[in-house]
């Protein structure tokens, strides 16, 4: 490493991780004299709430330097610049990302947190400029757009990581590696449920004095501020709750089952928000051909009250028990069927944590001690989460740029999770069941 120049290092590090990566030269990213050799220079496009989360997650990571922020809303630009100042970082603000790419010649990677309908074009433009890209979900607003991103990534030597952050969450990885993998718990999975409820609340507004002029809104595709602030409501810009929430959970289902669905049923509608187009309540049912046989997965995204006592989760029901997992450890629990074999071995191995002191087993002989009732309590996962999951996902991206890791969610994986989401939307709109074939997932 001592003899390798920084631009060579960053320019080649990711190439080996991509199938069919071309030996393309990386345009225009340069180290300046004041930054360490493996510093990654970043810009972020879109600094709304998720863009702020990206800044907060990335800025604390060593050798990550924000050079620029881009947003069509000056209110947000200023907020992002000020926020970066509090992390001792200074960034130039832009309205148009193309102008930013033209002027910022020191960039290595771009973070994208703009509305879904802009993602594919922005990703491809950034790849074309020789930059690695981290893009929030959904990667694309249509199946064809998603396919074009995967192809663009393959044709460059750049990396595309998509923000399905559960793939970097240590508890989720623990379940895949240890429970489903080594311990083979909970044996044959027969059903999956995913559920995410958001509280019914107001449409997003904006401080009146920060209203954008109409000509600027139209230049970027919006008729008015309401559309701009509530873009997931409108089919032209996004796919609503299915894209924003269910896509994350379906990505987990694909990942845990190591399979892709072969059919989609869905029902949904606009039940609460009268002026929106995309469903605010949606239930989808997918069938997965797996080594166990057919597994059915039911996903729900709901607009009601958040005070339901069970939170949001993905739940895998097997013969020997149930794995319920959530980003929030509060909602994660592993339930053992009373007829299953002992799980003590997995407790000793550190795969599971007992939350009870006495095992609860059915009586098997006359020697059982008669005593007070034992409470059935689920097992827990070990405490593995030490950083915000978004930060871990970004760290994986940065490690991959430096050639020290494989991406946890490259564009191909994201595409395979987004096809079923877009098909569920289609199923709602056409009121028919949809078959999915391997060709649907081909890139």
């Amino acid at each position: 490493m001592a003899t390798m120049k920084r631009r060579d290092f960053l320019g080649t590090a990711g190439a080996g991780l991509l199938l069919g990566a071309a030996a393309g030269a990386k345009a225009g990213n340069k180290a300046d004299a004041t930054t360490p050799a493996d510093t990654i220079n970043l810009a972020v496009i879109g600094v709304g709430s998720q863009g702020r989360n990206l800044i907060d997650a990335a800025a604390p990571i060593p050798k990550i330097l924000f050079r620029a922020v881009c947003d069509i809303w000056p209110y947000r630009q200023q907020y992002a610049v000020n926020r970066l100042k509090s992390y001792d970082q200074s960034a130039q603000a832009y309205t148009d990302y193309r102008e930013m790419l033209d002027k910022e010649k020191n960039l290595d990677a771009i973070l994208i947190a703009t509305p879904d309908f802009t993602h594919a074009e922005q990703i491809k433009t950034c790849l074309g400029a020789g930059l690695h890209v981290y893009c929030e979900t959904m990667m694309a607003h249509s199946i064809e757009a998603g396919r074009s991103v995967v192809r663009a990534a393959k044709q460059t030597s750049r990396l595309v990581q998509v923000g399905y952050q559960r793939r970097s969450h240590p508890c989720y990885r623990h379940v895949v590696d240890k429970l489903l993998g080594k311990a083979e718990l909970p044996d044959q999975v027969t059903q999956v449920q995913t559920r995410w409820v958001i509280g019914a609340s107001e449409a997003k507004g904006w401080p009146r004095r920060h209203t954008l002029p109409e000509d600027l809104l139209r230049r970027f595709g919006y008729d008015n501020m309401h559309e701009f602030r509530n873009w997931p409501w409108f089919r032209e810009f996004g796919a609503g709750l299915a894209a924003g929430l269910m896509a994350h959970q379906l990505d987990v289902v694909n990942w845990f089952l190591a399979a892709l669905p072969n059919s989609a049923l869905a029902a949904g509608g606009v039940d609460f928000y009268k002026s929106r187009e995309t469903p605010d309540n949606l239930t989808a049912v997918y069938q997965y051909p797996t080594a166990w046989g057919t597994v059915r997965a039911c996903g729900q995204v709901l607009t009601s009250t958040r005070a339901d006592g069970i939170g949001h989760f993905e739940q895998f029901c097997g013969i020997e028990g149930t794995i319920r997992i959530s980003e929030n450890p509060k909602w994660t629990a592993i339930f053992q069927d009373p007829n299953s074999v002992e799980w003590d071995e997995w407790v000793r191995e550190g795969y599971l944590v007992k939350t009870r002191t006495e095992p609860v087993k059915p009586p098997t002989s006359g020697e059982q001690v008669v005593r007070e009732t034992c409470q059935v309590e689920p097992y827990a996962l070990p405490s593995l989460l030490t950083k915000p999951p978004l930060q871990l996902h970004l760290e994986n991206f940065f490690y991959a740029i430096r050639g020290k890791a494989d991406l946890h969610c490259p564009a191909e994986a994201a595409f395979r999770s987004e096809v079923p989401i877009l098909k569920a939307i289609e199923a709602v709109e056409t009121r028919r069941a949809i078959d999915l074939s391997p060709e649907d997932f081909a890139t």
Binding site: S49, P60, S86, Y87, K204, G205, L385
Partner: protein
Amino acid sequence: MPHSDLSTQTLSREAMATVFTITVAHAEPDYARQAIRAALDELDLLEDRLSRFRPSSDVARINRLQPGQKTTVAPETLACLQAALAVESRTGRALDIAYASAPSAAARIELGPAGSTVRVLVPGVRLDLGGIGKGFAIDRMATVLAEWDIEAALLWASTSTVLAVGTPPGGCAWSVWIGPEDARRSIRLVNRALSASGVSTQGHHIVDPRSGRPAARRARCWAEAPTAAEADALSTAFIVMSQTEITRYCLEHPEASARAFDVRGGDFATCSDRPTRT
């Protein structure tokens, strides 16, 4: 705009193991409700940062650090810690956000100096922002409302901390009540916060950091201050401080005031040089 043209809108959200409620007075009800939503969205972010029960929060990460290690935290976390340490210093550690830590006479954490970093200085640091976090969250939400040019609002964390912004429609101050059931008294607030701490609702949950034992000096006390964070923190501190200590504090810090009643049911002991009671 005449005050009589204003209507009030109220929304609540669950966070930090309680319910926050915001009332806004504004001529446009939809605008008021959108402003409240924006403020409550900020609350969700703060809980992610400040809760010691969330393993990836800033506070949980600080609590896992070894001496000499540092971590970068969100600017809001740093601001909350700065506010807490300021009250700790002014009250002689009657408020101690590290009360659950291993005993140490030395400073436990160091903030900054560059960036938004926190360094742990001694072994066994366990921060708990429960004595100030809710008030701090109220102040942050008030900042959001100010960005929306909201001039009249009342922000509550449960029933324990309240910040009054401006004045209500048709009134010259927001009125709230304090005191025991049989001796309630009205407090009028304008651009000030009031916070209560006590042992009657959650039992002896307040620990006197100077003794390490549950505080038992008085059943409930109130602190009034310019910000909700300060009022929240001071009410926590006042409940373990003696009457003399509270009186001295209020004389030295005229921006704050205190009211307390004894656990034996005695009348209010008021420590204030400001005529805030009606």
